[in-house]
Each structure stands twice: as C-alpha cells, then as structure tokens.
Symmetry: C2
Amino acid sequence: MASELSFTEENYLKAIYHISAESNESVNTNALAESMNTTPASANDMVKRLAQKNLIGYQKYKGATLLTKGKKIALTIVRKHRLWEVFLVDKLGFKWDEVHEIAEQLEHIKSPSLIKRLDKFLGFPTMDPHGDPIPNEDGIMKQTRRASIAEVAINTRGIIVAVNNDDTLLLQHLDSLGIKLGSRVGVLERMDFDGSVSISIDDGPKQFLSKAVAENLMITLTDTK
Amino acid sequence: MASELSFTEENYLKAIYHISAESNESVNTNALAESMNTTPASANDMVKRLAQKNLIGYQKYKGATLLTKGKKIALTIVRKHRLWEVFLVDKLGFKWDEVHEIAEQLEHIKSPSLIKRLDKFLGFPTMDPHGDPIPNEDGIMKQTRRASIAEVAINTRGIIVAVNNDDTLLLQHLDSLGIKLGSRVGVLERMDFDGSVSISIDDGPKQFLSKAVAENLMITLTDTK
DNA sequence: ATTTATTTTTAGATTAATCTAAATAATATT
DNA sequence: AATATTATTTAGATTAATCTAAAAATAAAT
Ligand SMILES: [Mn+2]
Ligand SMILES: [Mn+2]
Ligand SMILES: [Mn+2]
Ligand SMILES: [Mn+2]
C-alpha cells in the first residue's frame, strides 16, 4: 500500500527532486545534507530508507536518483506547495515573500480531494507567485523558455516570470524597485566590468541592477527588437 | 520560549480540553487513552511530559487538568480546526461530513498571521459548519443557549446549531431529511413510548425522528409559542 | 604511485512516541 | 477486614529521526 510517508521523507524526496532538476546527475550525500540542513550521516540514513521503499535508486558511494514512484510523490509535493502559495497570495493577501515557510507546512496535508478543490477554487493556475510552474495531477508542467536578465542580449524584452532565490532581502529589494512577477522588462545596457545591467520596468525610467540581482531574475523572451 | 509543541502534544492538549469540557473534572488516564486511540501507558507518558512543561496539572493517580498556558494552546487548536472547517465548506464546497479529518491536519499549521488572515477571509465566523462556536484570539467563544430536540418542550421552535455526533451515517441521514445547520425547526409531537418526535423543517411537512437522532440535534431556542 | 584531502559510510548514542507485560495503587465487593 | 476488580503507573523494548566521532572509500594533488 501507499503506507503514508512522513513529512521528513516527503521533504527529502522534494530536495532530491530539486537538486537533480538542476544538475541532471545523481544527488550526492553532502549536497542533500546541506539542502536539508542536516548532517551527511542523517542524509545517508534517509537515503537508505527511501531506497528500501523503492522510491529512489541508490548504490553506495554513487548518490541517489528518483525512481518513478518517488518522482511522482516529489512532484505532488511541489504541486501542493505552489498551489498553496497561490492561495496565500491571491486569496489571503500575503505578499509573495511571506508565503514560502507557510507553504512548507501546508504541502504535507494529505487529501487528494482537497487539492483538487483548491486547484479549482484558484482557477487552475499554472504558475505560483514566484513564477514557478505548477505541475498538474500527472506531474506535468509546461516549461516556459526562460533566461536570466544577466545572460540575455541587450535590447531583449520580456516578462518577469520567476525569481530564482527565496532570500527575503532580495525579494524586498525587488519590491522597492517596483519589480514583480508579470512586470515587462527591457534590458538596456550591460557593463562588462561588473556584469551589472540597466533596465526599464513597464516602460518606466532606467534602473540599475547588480549582476547578483540580474542573475536571479528570469524572464520569458517576448521580443528582441 | 514557546519551544514549539509537536502535533502529538497539541492533540493531547485538545483531547484533555474536550474531555474536561464535559465533565469539569480532571481527566483520567483511561479516558484520555481511549480518546487518543492509544494505550493508557502512552497517555500516562504524555501526561508526564505535558506536566513537565507546565501545560497541565498532574498528580499521580489523580488525573490531568489544563493549566492556563495549556488551555490557551488547546483553544488555539480548536479555533484553527473550526476556522479551517468553515473554509473547507464555505469556500471549497466540501460537505460538512467530509471536513473533520482534513481539519485535523490543518489545525496544526503554525502561523498566527495565517489564521488572522483566514479569519478575515471567511468574514469572522463565530460558528463552524457543525454549529460549534469558534473561539476568538483570546480563547473566548460566545456560548449560545442550547438544548437537544429530545429534551425540549412541545411546540418549541429553534434553529439547528449543532450535531453532537460526527458519525457519517448520522450526518448522511440528516442530509437525506433535508436537515442542516441553520434549518428552522418546529417540534410538533413526542411519543412517550420511545421518545421519538415529529418535527417540521423550515415549515415543511411533518417528519419523524427517533430519540437517538433527536438527542444529537441541538437547537437554539427562538420561540416557544 | 604515494600521499593528502574530501566524501561517504558506519558505529554507537539520544530523544520522542509508542507498545506489551508486569507491578502497584485505588475502588468495589463480599 | 479481606478479597477481588479496575485503574494507573512503571519497566523494558521498539522505531523514526537525528547527532558525533571514527572508519572506509573515492578523488585530487604531488
Ligand atoms: Mn516556495
Ligand atoms: Mn516541507
Ligand atoms: Mn471537526
Ligand atoms: Mn489534530
């Protein structure tokens, strides 16, 4: 049977999913431990547990990879996390930099019908407040083509669809600049010296972003004119 | 510091609250164990833990009582449970007999601002879908005067505000009779032989209720005419 | 190819929450 | 008052999840 996973097991599966989504490689113990804010010994213990349950593939010294069943669970957690974030922002009026920790708890509520109804109540959203795609019930999410403002060509225009960083300080900085999801961005100039860029938001005045900030701002390419 | 209670500790506090709400006596080990679906040994262990934390008063062989701090926590859990039940019914369209188990999970989400916003989003309700009062932030709830249909005088009129039983079979039976919270009831007759009663719902046709059903239907007294 | 450094795994402890079975205390019954 | 019954507590184990410290394997550097 499904045998009901613990919150901890679910969180590990999600961490393995997120880490391997970037690298496409098997997830090594140290990276997993760091992501989970725990020790390599603990991560190793859990990896063995999850392998036992046929949720991940694991061989000694060779890291972990999600198996079909584990990946499906991970995507369900991601789906719930992002749907709840939409609820918190759209319905309860939270700001987008306040919702992650609460969603971290809500994502573990076990009730398929709850998520079905929540999805409908929210109007079947495809993106969370940070622009990350929401997997559907089958774990499929439409991958929008993206690039960071730091790497995009001059004169590129696009729409901000994601911020690759949950750091509250960054999110608040963006708020103060009037930058939010859905903002239309034009990339005007790039200083080769430090990688900083000048941009305009919604055809407003020129503003400057450091490379560190620009790297975290993902846009969909709409127009290169 | 608050030191963050576990779900289990919260559930025990809530159970102690509910059991002692009826009897006004200290809660004995066996009753607590039964309510928690566990063994007396486990309940006894937990009672010692909670006493250690000054949440409950406890002396060997003399049962447990909530202390100020523990009662406040218990009432917060009850508040969250009932607010979430309102959400599930009013916003997501669940039926009132489907929400308890989900609320049992949601009640443990830790975020005061979430509950504040949820309360506002729901329009500051004072009753949950089963007619139970929702404690405010200070743990105060307005106690409506209630009586069961089984004990009320003939010709009493009132509004159904609670069903004293979570049994799905009962709740479905009531649904089939068109009886729900907020229904206006007139008590027409009572058979002394078996305690069954005839009533009308919302001035509709005469319907019969067994004593067992009538006992679980609580009304507020509006009119004795 | 050795040596050094890093990563990964194991061994052994700890804490929360639970259980079974046995012991003890409190009640109830003769 | 002695005995039987019931309620409560303790003793000893178990499981999940975690840790520290030590051992083993792999990778990197000389
Ligand atoms: Mn998030
Ligand atoms: Mn989580
Ligand atoms: Mn309930
Ligand atoms: Mn609960």
